[in-house]
C-alpha cells in the first residue's frame, strides 16, 4: 500500500491550480473522532473521487466544505485565501454546490423553476417573471447540452433527469465545484453514461466535480484522482489510473481480499425448486430453472431484464400467465406471498430499507414479524419466552451487533440491518431463499459479512437464488449463473468456466 507521504508527493508533482485545499482538518463529535488531520485538495476543473466505507468521515468532510460543520482544527484555503471554517452562505459564495443523494429538488415545481429557485430566495422582492425564468433555465441547460421540458413538473421526471435538473441548478448558482453524493446509486448503466457525459461538460467549463461514493466502478472511468478515507484519516490520494476495484477495496477496508470462486456444488442432486416454461406477458418468457438444496444459483441481468419480476413471481406476488413451479417435485401455485412463505420460500428485497424492515420498530419485533403465529401460547397471545429465545438465537448466529434486541432497527448500520432482514426470513425456516440485490448500498466490509451469511445459509441446506447486477458478485458467490436478457434466460454458466469479461458481454449483448 502507498503511504500518505508518497501520495502527497504525487499531489505536488502534477501542476494544476488548486481551487480548494483542506489542510489538517480534524473534527470530533462528542467523544467520537470523525476526522483526524485530513488533507484534501481539489483542483479547478478536475474530477475527483472521495471514497471510503460508511462512517469513514466522507460525509463529515463534505459537510465541512458545505459550511454545515466547522472543523476543530485545520484550514480551508480557497483560491489562496485561508479560512478557519465556512458558513453555508460563504461556501455557496465560493461556488461550492452539494448535490445530496436525495437531490433536494421540489417535486411539485417545474424544471425551470427548480433550476432558478435560488432567484426566489436571493431576490425576494422582485416579482416573478415566469417567461424570463424559463429562458434563463433553458440557457443553463444549453450550457450543459441538456434538453428537458422546462414546464414539466419535476416529480414526473425519471430519476436520471431529476439528477440533471439538480446539476443545472448547481450550475445556475455559478458553481465552481459540484459535489455529488452517491450519484449513481439509483441509475441504470445507460443513465450513468449520460451523467458522466454531463460531468465532462462541467469539466470543460472549468468546474470541478467530487464524487462521493462507495460504488466507484463507473465513476472511475472519468475520475482523475481518488482520495481514500478510512476511520477518519486520509489513506492517500492516487491517480485514478493506478487504482482498480480490488486495490480500492483494499485501501478502503485495510484488508486484502482474495477473490476465490466457490468450489463446485457437491450437495443433494435432487432439485428442491423446478420451474418450467414460466411466462408473464411483458415481463419474462419461457423461464426454466432448477435449484438444489444448499446450492446458490446466481441470476444476473440488467435492470428491466425481468429478474426482479421473476423473483416476485417465485414469491407469489406476481402470478405467472403460463408455466409451472414445482417444489420437491410437487406442483404448487403461488398466488400470494403468504402461500409462498407457507411453501417454504423466503424473499429479501432489493429495497431493504423500505420494504424489508420496519425501521422504528425493535430488532426483535422485526425478526419475529413473519412467524408471530408460531409463537402463540395461551389464548393465542404471544409467548414472550419463545419470542426472546428465537430472537436471541438469530442475533447470536448472525452476529447482529447491538446492545439490546429491543433497540430500533433504524439505529443499526446497513450491514447489521441486512442481517436482521436475513434473521427475519430464517426464522420462517425457509427451504428456498431469494436474495434480490442483497448488497446494494452496503459498503465493502459489510458485503463480505453478507457473503459469509449466504454461505452459512447454503451450508445449512437452504437453496439460494441470488439476484444481482454486480457481475463480480454473482461470479464469486454462486455455484451456477443464469443470465437474463429481455425477459429470457439467455445463458447458463459454470463460474469456473467463464471470465468476468465474457459474463459482462453476455449481460449487455
Amino acid at each position: 500500500m502507498m503511504g500518505p507521504s508518497e501520495a502527497a508527493e504525487q499531489d505536488r508533482s502534477e501542476a494544476a491550480p488548486a481551487f480548494i485545499e483542506l489542510l489538517g482538518i480534524s473534527k470530533h463529535f462528542g467523544g467520537v473522532r470523525a476526522l483526524t488531520n485530513v488533507d484534501f485538495t481539489i483542483r479547478s476543473g478536475e474530477v475527483h473521487c472521495l471514497a471510503g466505507e460508511n462512517g469513514c468521515g466522507k460525509s463529515t468532510l463534505i459537510k465541512i466544505l458545505a459550511g454545515v460543520h466547522a472543523p476543530d482544527n485545520g484550514q480551508i484555503v480557497i483560491d489562496g485565501h485561508a479560512h478557519t471554517h465556512l458558513s453555508p452562505a460563504a461556501s455557496q459564495r465560493a461556488g461550492i454546490q452539494i448535490i445530496y443523494q436525495d437531490l433536494s429538488l421540489f417535486p411539485n415545481l417545474s424544471v425551470g423553476e427548480n433550476i432558478m429557485f435560488r432567484h426566489h430566495v436571493e431576490k425576494s422582492v422582485r416579482p416573478v417573471n415566469e417567461r424570463k425564468m424559463m429562458i434563463h433555465a433553458r440557457d443553463v441547460m444549453s450550457r450543459l447540452g441538456i434538453e428537458l421540458p422546462t414546464a414539466e413538473t419535476v416529480g414526473r421526471l425519471p430519476i436520471a433527469d431529476r439528477q440533471l435538473v439538480a446539476i443545472c441548478r448547481a450550475l445556475a448558482a455559478e458553481a465552481r465545484l459540484v459535489v455529488m453524493d452517491e450519484p449513481t446509486a439509483s441509475l441504470t448503466h445507460h443513465e450513468i453514461d449520460a451523467l458522466l457525459e454531463t460531468v465532462g461538460v462541467l469539466k470543460s467549463h472549468g468546474i470541478a466535480t467530487v464524487f462521493v461514493s462507495h460504488k466507484l466502478e463507473e465513476v472511475m472511468r472519468i475520475a482523475e484522482r481518488v482520495t481514500v478515507l478510512r476511520d477518519g484519516q486520509r489513506v492517500g490520494t492516487y491517480p485514478a489510473s493506478e487504482i482498480d476495484r480490488h486495490r480500492l477495496s483494499e485501501l478502503m477496508t485495510g484488508h486484502k481480499y482474495t477473490a476465490a470462486l466457490k468450489p463446485a456444488f457437491a450437495g443433494d442432486a435432487n432439485p428442491i425448486l423446478e420451474v418450467h416454461g414460466l411466462s408473464r406477458r411483458g415481463q419474462y418468457e419461457g423461464v426454466d430453472l432448477v435449484v438444489r438444496p444448499g446450492e446458490i444459483l446466481g441470476i444476473t441481468g440488467r435492470l428491466g431484464s425481468g429478474r426482479t419480476e421473476l423473483a416476485l413471481t417465485l414469491f407469489g406476488m406476481n402470478p405467472p400467465d403460463a408455466g409451472e413451479i414445482r417444489i420437491r417435485g410437487k406442483r404448487v401455485r403461488l398466488r400470494t406471498n403468504r402461500e409462498a412463505v407457507r411453501a417454504g420460500i423466503g424473499y429479501v428485497s432489493e429495497d431493504r430499507l423500505s420494504l424489508g424492515l420496519v425501521m422504528p420498530q425493535s430488532i426483535a419485533d422485526n425478526i419475529v414479524v413473519s412467524v408471530l403465529n408460531k409463537l402463540t401460547g395461551v389464548l393465542g397471545l404471544i409467548d414472550g419466552g419463545r419470542r426472546s429465545e428465537l430472537v436471541d438465537r438469530w442475533i447470536g448466529e448472525l452476529h447482529v451487533r447491538t446492545k439490546s434486541a429491543e433497540r430500533p432497527v433504524r439505529e443499526l448500520s446497513g450491514g447489521n440491518q441486512q442481517r436482521v432482514v436475513l434473521a427475519k426470513w430464517l426464522a420462517t425456516a425457509p427451504a428456498i431463499l431469494i436474495l434480490d440485490s442483497p448488497t446494494v448500498g452496503v459498503d465493502v466490509g459489510a458485503k463480505e459479512g453478507i457473503y459469509q451469511i449466504v454461505d452459512t445459509l447454503a451450508a445449512r441446506g437452504i437453496a439460494i437464488i441470488l439476484i444481482s447486477d454486480e457481475v463480480e458478485e454473482v461470479l464469486h458467490q454462486s455455484h451456477r449463473i443464469l443470465v437474463m436478457l429481455g425477459g429470457r434466460i439467455t445463458a447458463s454458466f459454470d463460474p469456473a468456466k467463464v471470465s468476468e469479461k465474457e459474463l459482462r458481454e453476455v449481460i449487455s449483448a
Binding site: 455557496q92 433536494s104 421540489f106 411539485n108 429557485f117 416579482p127
Partner: protein, 322 residues
C-alpha cells in the same frame, strides 16, 4: 387538438369546472329559479366569507401545513373589533386594519409554536383553536353584540356588486398575486413540496411559516368582519364548526393536504362547486340533512378520484423508469 383536449382534461381545475357547469345546467333545468340574476348574486354573497377564509387556508395548505384554528381566530378578532367599534367608533379602515392585525398576530402564534416546538400543525392549530375560542367564551360568557354602528351594518354595493363579494374578489386577487408572482409565494410552494430542500436552498423557514399562518389568520379575521357586517351582529359561536367546510372546498379545488400543490382558481371552483350544490338542492326543496350527505359524497368521490389518478400516474412513472 385531441391531445390538447386530453391534456386539458387532466388538469384538476378543468375537471372541477366542468362538474360545476354540468351541475349548474342540471339545476337550471330542474328549477327556473336557479339561473336568475338575484339567485346567483345571493349565491356569491353567501359564499364570499368562505372564499375569503379559503384564500388564507390555501396558503397554509400549500406551505405543507394545515390550519384548523382560523374560524376561532375570526371569531376572536370579530369580537375584539366589535367592542372597539362600539366603544370608540371607527370606520371600515380601522375595522379591517385592526381585525387583520389581530388575526395575523394570532396566526403567527401558530407559526411560532409549530416552528419552535417542531409540532405537527394539525395538533397545534386544534389546540390553539380550543384555546382561543374558550378564552372568547369565557370573556363574553357567550353573550352577543347587537349594537353595532349603523355604518358597519348597512348594505353597500358598487356597480350592483355586493360589498362582501368585492372583498372576496380582492382577497382572492391578492392571494393570486402572492402565490404566483411573488418570490416568497414561490418559496412557500417550495417549502410545501420539499421542506428539507427549502432549508438547504437557504429559505427562511420561520419567516415563510409566519407569513403562511399569519396570512391565514389575517384573511380569517377579514372574513369575520365581513360576516359580522352581513348578519349585523357578533355571536361568539357563529363561526365555529365551519372549519371543515372551508377545508373541504379548498381540497375539492385541488389543494394537496401534503403540501406544495394548490391554486387560487381551483379554490374558487371548489367553493363554487359546494355553493351550486347547496343552492340547487335548497331550490329543489331537498332537506338540509340530505345536503350534508350529498356534500360528503361529492368530497369523497373527488378526493378518491384525485388519489387514484396520482397512483396511476406513479405506476406509469415506474414503468417509464424501467
Amino acid at each position: 387538438m385531441l391531445s390538447q383536449l386530453r391534456a386539458a382534461w387532466r388538469r384538476h381545475d378543468v375537471q372541477i369546472g366542468s362538474i360545476v357547469v354540468i351541475m349548474a345546467a342540471f339545476f337550471s333545468a330542474l328549477s327556473p329559479a336557479f339561473l336568475t340574476l338575484s339567485n346567483l348574486g345571493d349565491l356569491l354573497e353567501n359564499y364570499s366569507v368562505m372564499a375569503i377564509m379559503a384564500a388564507g387556508l390555501l396558503v397554509v395548505l400549500i406551505s405543507g401545513g394545515i390550519d384548523i384554528s382560523f374560524e376561532a381566530i375570526a371569531a376572536v378578532s370579530q369580537f375584539f373589533v366589535a367592542i372597539i367599534l362600539v366603544k370608540f367608533g371607527g370606520n371600515w379602515f380601522t375595522a379591517f386594519g385592526l381585525a387583520g392585525l389581530f388575526g395575523a398576530l394570532l396566526g403567527i402564534v401558530n407559526a411560532l409554536l409549530i416552528y419552535y416546538l417542531g409540532a405537527i400543525s394539525v395538533i397545534v392549530t386544534i389546540s390553539t383553536m380550543t384555546f382561543y375560542f374558550s378564552i372568547l367564551m369565557f370573556m363574553t360568557q357567550g353573550r352577543s353584540i347587537y349594537d353595532l354602528p349603523s355604518w358597519f351594518t348597512s348594505d353597500m354595493s358598487w356597480l350592483s356588486i355586493p360589498f362582501p363579494v368585492m372583498v372576496a374578489a380582492v382577497a382572492l386577487l391578492v392571494t393570486l398575486v402572492l402565490l404566483s408572482r411573488s418570490p416568497v409565494g414561490r418559496q412557500i410552494y417550495g417549502l410545501g413540496g420539499n421542506p428539507e430542500a427549502a432549508k438547504r436552498m437557504g429559505c427562511n423557514i420561520l419567516g415563510l411559516q409566519c407569513l403562511a399562518y399569519g396570512y391565514s389568520g389575517f384573511m380569517a379575521a377579514i372574513g369575520g368582519i365581513v360576516q359580522a357586517h352581513r348578519v349585523e351582529e357578533v355571536v361568539p359561536y357563529a363561526l365555529i364548526g365551519r372549519e371543515l367546510d372551508v377545508l373541504a372546498a379548498v381540497v375539492l379545488g385541488g389543494a394537496s393536504l401534503s403540501g406544495g400543490i394548490g391554486t387560487v382558481s381551483g379554490t374558487v371552483l371548489g367553493i363554487l362547486l359546494l355553493a351550486v350544490l347547496q343552492n340547487g338542492l335548497t331550490l329543489l326543496g331537498v332537506s338540509s340533512y340530505a345536503f350534508g350527505v350529498v356534500t360528503g359524497a361529492v368530497i369523497l368521490v373527488s378526493v378518491t378520484a384525485t388519489a387514484y389518478a396520482s397512483k396511476r400516474q406513479q405506476r406509469r412513472g415506474v414503468r417509464d423508469a424501467v
